[in-house]
Symmetry: C2
């Protein structure tokens, strides 16, 4: 991607800023790695939560990337639309230096990422500038921008989805009783590396038998057995963009209970895909799946939301669940992942990643490993 | 570890609390994963920064672990010294319910981890309790406790150090020109998995030739060549505890410049190990290495601190650098890692992990791959 993409995104943010909170902002301070990458192209990750690789300062006239000497070169290469400032001492102490000539008054900040202590120190230093400046919550303004994907972003997400779809194909065809969940998770990791992924977008879930009843199971040394459900939930990161897919697989034929469960989950998923169109409410989409699962008698066993947005982060907006209605819009990319989990026995989850287009949803996860237990 | 370890640690924290900030605290709210694990044994990681797997509430009479239904079972198994509360709605809304009978007034919180927004919402809800309660920064109280390792912790760290020392042995003996930095990093990951590590304690650094001049290089597709420096910096996590080691390796003989650089770095490291004893100032220890490197003419090329504590986190206290003097104490476990980095050419870093005992430092990283270029 070239410089102009980032200049445009930063410009769009600046135009939105006056609507932030009550007083409006004349600049934004961006620390969250995904927001930082979205607005500047700077791809560094934070090595530890407390060890930031840099932040952005954006207003109507300036685009500044503040980092330390470890990252200066990478920042200059990747964030051509930004001027790079290398810290002399540390972020807070250097504020008077790098804000010189900025004429800030009200700087938007990421209130759900900046720690209480960093906010306090930054606010104190900003207040001593001349003219003094203040911090105001951005209220998810950049995250909201990120929910509507540009065509180039959809393409990047589709590439990431293609990669994990192919990987699951290979994993599923090699699956046999006796291998452990950990073995399978390791195989996914190896295939992602071979395929050239930046990494996994989240630690893979490989959950077999009773473990599949835990929506967030961690791969164990349990050996896979025939006829039991095996949930494979994985994703890769490619050029910054994440993918996320789930298939539930059986080696051999499951019993009738799991056939019914599988059929119900798949039916719920297909009904949702029928229902989605621009401007539909997220809660109504969730209800389509929830009602089908409840009607089949499994209402108590679908304990999580229907889906979540995917982009530079694996989990982002829009969220599709029973609460917090939002209108789905063209350009949204999100998962549709109903599930039924019977404690102590096992579960089934099926997850597709889709982009919402004017005509309806288009599936990005092109892996056709589904059963027809009708 | 059994229940009593955690009950003891929580008890020690409660006794320290009245000294927190100016007003004193009568309880602590602990979210940071390492602090949470240290005090309770609960080992879950936070899947995303914004998605906490739980927090602790500790005071003179109560030890409560607050989590959601995904983690209830794990919490009950691992944190036997804690009562487990499963969230009904979410943390903030459930505060009145799970603090019932707690009689809190001033709750310590981790000001460098809790976000501005979570602090605001929590403080508002606490203020409406009867009697109302307030939040006060803990100022690193738990992190300070963690700096002095118990014998069982030193043992755990030694096991993690042994594992990565053996892994580097194997990696170094297999190293040959033509393999890429990424290949080597992948090999380290595979060996860690085979050896039974929980994972790497940080993404391995494999930096060859000019890349070795970047202290935080990311493994690339660059192929290793003979006679150039190759920095291998890696660690594993085992039973929660981290290790961290660096060796600089040459395939074939380096030129005289790099022989001199290597000799200087090693000499600085050995001099530091001679100098360390209980109650020595961290800045004085750092100066020992810095002076030797400066005297050899490389003063401008050692741009980072001498070392850092290692424990449940890879980077923790005590920090050994030119600023912020602290007295080193028996029970501290930290790295000694001088380095010299010549931009565009290459660098050498050597890192040992040591425990400070009454008699002096004991090296935990038992890998003897050092060169004698005298």
């Amino acid at each position: 991607m070239d410089e102009s993409i980032y200049a445009k995104r930063a410009g769009a943010l600046v135009r939105l800023l006056p609507s932030s909170a009550e007083t409006g902002c004349d600049g934004a301070w961006i620390l969250k790695p995904e927001n930082r990458r979205y607005l500047s192209g700077f791809s560094a990750e934070d090595s530890q939560f407390t060890e930031s690789s840099g932040s952005l300062l954006i207003n109507g006239t300036n685009r500044l990337l503040i980092t330390d000497s470890r990252y200066t070169l990478a920042a200059e290469n990747e964030a051509a639309a930004f001027e790079v400032y290398t810290l002399k001492k540390n972020f807070v102490d250097d504020i008077p230096d790098f804000t010189k000539g900025f004429n800030l008054h009200n700087l938007g900040f990421e209130e759900d990422f900046v720690t209480w202590d960093l906010h306090r120190k930054t606010a104190e230093t900003l207040a001593r500038l001349s003219p003094p400046a203040a911090l105001t919550p951005l209220n998810g303004m950049v995250e909201n921008m990120r929910e509507i994907k540009e065509d180039r972003e959809v393409e990047a997400l589709e590439n990431a989805a293609d990669m994990i779809s192919d990987i699951l194909d290979e994993v599923i065809s090699a699956l046999k009783p006796g291998v452990t969940e950990k073995d399978v998770a390791w195989q996914i990791k190896g295939l992602a590396k071979e395929a050239g992924a930046e990494g996994l977008s989240f630690p893979s879930i490989v959950a077999s038998g009773p473990n599949s009843a835990l929506p967030h199971a961690v791969p164990s040394n349990r050996k896979i057995r025939s006829r039991e459900p095996i949930i494979l939930d994985a994703g890769v990161r490619l050029n910054g963009y994440c993918s996320d897919i789930t298939r539930t697989v059986f080696v051999g034929e499951p019993d009738d209970t799991f056939k019914t469960i599988y059929r119900t989950v798949r039916q719920a998923q297909l009904a949702v895909l029928e229902k989605i169109h621009p401007s539909v409410q997220s809660t109504r989409v969730d209800a389509v799946a929830r009602d089908i699962i409840a009607d089949a008698g499994f209402g108590a066993y679908f304990g999580h939301g229907l889906g979540h947005g995917v982009g530079l982060a694996t989990h982002e907006g829009p969220r599709l669940g029973p609460r917090n209605a939002v209108l789905l819009q063209p350009g949204n990319v999100f998962t549709v992942e109903p599930g039924i989990y019977i404690p102590g026995k096992g579960g089934v989850r099926l997850e597709e990643m889709v982009v919402l287009e004017a005509e309806g949803p288009r599936i990005l996860t092109k892996n056709d490993h589904f059963y027809d237990f009708s």
